[in-house]
């Protein structure tokens, strides 16, 4: 009785799984060391609790941040190049209509968001994953502007100079961390999505 059984389908290519986990690791290092760097001279009226920061002191945090940035950027180049060249982005993220995003985000709040077919992203997922990607692009460019406000002053100029780039960098971080936290909550709500990002396979009813 073949029809009553389920079968395994491959939904995440190996390169996506590898770059996903390297990215997760790099983001964790970048965010936690970045918080420590922020604490050295906060421009908002709060500090990040040092227990959740990385580096121990400013020099250590800077070492982590400027080491992990290579991992983040090189891994990101591999992922984005693959995503564009292979058509992965086009297939997975598009079409993306604002109306669908609103409908699916509201659906998620009501606990009525469908994600039965793990090989297809709903509009809320598409928007979230693209937003993380966009945040990372902004983070890299604002980061370059902060790191090299003289050599890359054209980039800094787009953000209102060095001090503006610091604000942009922080806000992009905050938005990215928020979406990543939502992403983790959603994975916990639909736990069967978790092993698929490791094995690449999902069970589908035949």
């Amino acid at each position: 009785m073949e029809t009553a059984q389920s079968h395994w389908v491959k939904i995440h290519p190996l390169i996506v799984r590898i770059t996903h986990w390297i990215n997760a690791f790099a983001i964790l290092m970048m965010a936690t060391s970045g918080w420590r760097i922020y604490n050295a001279s906060p421009f908002f009226p709060f500090r990040i609790p040092s227990e959740i920061t990385l580096g121990g002191w400013l020099a250590g945090a800077l070492q982590w941040h400027f080491a992990a940035m290579w991992l983040l950027v090189l891994n990101g180049i591999v992922y984005v190049t693959y995503g564009i060249v292979s058509g992965h982005f086009r297939r997975k993220f598009f079409p993306l209509w604002p109306r669908d995003v609103v409908r699916d985000v509201l659906g998620a709040f009501r606990g009525k968001l469908a994600h039965d077919d793990l090989s297809m992203y709903n509009a809320a997922q598409r928007a979230a994953y693209l937003a993380i990607l966009l945040c990372l692009v902004v983070l890299v460019f604002s980061g370059l502007a902060i790191w090299k406000p003289v050599q890359f002053q054209e980039i800094a100029g787009l953000m209102g100079g060095y001090e503006g780039a610091r604000i942009v960098h922080f806000c992009a971080m905050a938005l990215m961390v928020f979406i990543v936290l939502v992403h983790i909550v959603m994975v916990m709500l639909v736990p069967r999505t978790f092993p698929t990002m490791i094995t690449g396979r999902a069970r589908r009813a035949s």
């Binding site: 990385l54 580096g55 400013l58 020099a59 250590g60 406000p149 060095y162």
Partner: protein, 252 residues
Amino acid sequence: MKKRTMETSLAAQSPKLVRSVERRLFLRQGLSLGALAMLSGCNLTDDESVQRVLTGMSRWNDGAQGLIFSRTKLAPEYPESAITKPFPFNAFYTEDEVTEVDGKSYQLELAGMIRDKKPWTLPELYALPQTSQITRHICVEGWSAIGKWGGVRFSTFLERIGADTTAKYVGFYCADDYSTSIDMATALHPQTLLTFRFADQILPMKYGFPMKLRIPTKLGFKNPKQIVSMMVTNEYPGGYWEDQGYNWFSGS
């Protein structure tokens, strides 16, 4: 201890199993490295092998920044109205601990790959061609402030003393026991000034009397104050903060 004993006895019986266990341990350690970082806060950085990698990456970043650095690209300059008042004091000590330097007996000592090592007095330095700049001082901590500094182009001074500009480094030693060093390309940058004036006044003691090397293409801690001696060398001189782990090049 317990783990080691188990491993030893297991290894004797089944090397294949041990390899598999080790591989799994390695994977698990790799995956939990991030979580570990969160939990232990600073301890991870103290681990010797981790620190070796981080120091290696910092050296790599010195090289990358040397490649990114442009000899001709200028730091933005600002109008007088943009100057930060009051300009923040910053050092590895507090403002009331600033070292007093006697301008009358002061001499700048020269060492290393320099043709004419005759020490310089303040009147001699003041007689050099003077220029000024209003630029942004960016601290490694993140804050920044705009100030006006006046003095002689450092490249002009290096030329006067017959410095070997093919050397790699210029190192500085200061009256307050501070030290730092820079690459020759930055030393020769047109905006790198040996300054004697701040906000159109003789440099106040707290801002580095009698002289501060102003480098708008580097972070603040690479701008030594109260310089008493400098040397041109091919041997890496390090510096006060650099020796503690801050990135050496620290270019802007």
